[in-house]
Symmetry: C2
Subunit: 142 residues, 2 copies
Amino acid sequence: MSYAEAQLREQAQRVTAGRRAVIRALAHLGGHPTAAQVETAVTELSPGVHRATVYRTLETLATLGVVTHVHMTHGTTAYHLAARTASRAHLHARCRLCGAVVDLPPDLLDDVRERVRAAGGFEVDPAHVALSGTCADCTRLD
Amino acid sequence: MSYAEAQLREQAQRVTAGRRAVIRALAHLGGHPTAAQVETAVTELSPGVHRATVYRTLETLATLGVVTHVHMTHGTTAYHLAARTASRAHLHARCRLCGAVVDLPPDLLDDVRERVRAAGGFEVDPAHVALSGTCADCTRLD
DNA sequence: ATGAGTGCAAAGTGTTTGCAACTAT
DNA sequence: ATAGTTGCAAACACTTTGCACTCAT
């Protein structure tokens, strides 16, 4: 039984074929797939699971904390299974040119967070959005 | 003649009814409207300008540097007329609960940028994405 | 048994396209 | 004159909905 599945049971949530399929697809895909990419993978790996179920399930799993989502530039949302330990959590940056997603240390924005809080009371949630920029490779080619 | 219009002429770009309409709508709206909101405003203020023109024009103006765009959480892109002076540029954060957009000092992420560059060569472009979090009001109500 | 979860199909949303006609330069 | 812009309508990708049915518990 996968860790994600165990998390579901712990929270007294039902473990259904659809949910298993989504979890499996996420594990299989790795990285930071969008909802649409998860949908495609689910359809391949576990035919019969409906599109709508994938979207509903991703949302549910995100609410339950089993999966994490990050908003990317250009309007997409990326999902992945939640980190097993806090130490494995991370922030994201996405290359505006090639689309590559880079992981960043989780404490990178701690100072910024503190400064913004002090300045106006806004609470920044650094993990919720990917920073934008250009990756090393693309910068080199520029 | 508006400043934005002057910028167009400077770059030898045509000043058309559609472009004037988009610039006018942006000036009228202020803040950080999405493309769809600009479309609505254009349709109101300058009927006859087509939806597709608004989207194409926003993209063109963004490329020319006449307007600036910021990617927001939840998949939308917000536009505004480019700041007349560098000192008026700013970063953005969006409240995940009420959607309010807060302006932040332009140098807020300078340190982060430097650290990320040193660590892996990724060039962060802080102005291109809005940070996410909760504004002071919504934090209070939580 | 019972309510949470699902498939289905359909309708959103917001955005983009190919093309012929138009117009700012 | 001639390229760049536009209107149009249609297609587009992605996501969400209402409802009846099914299945995990």
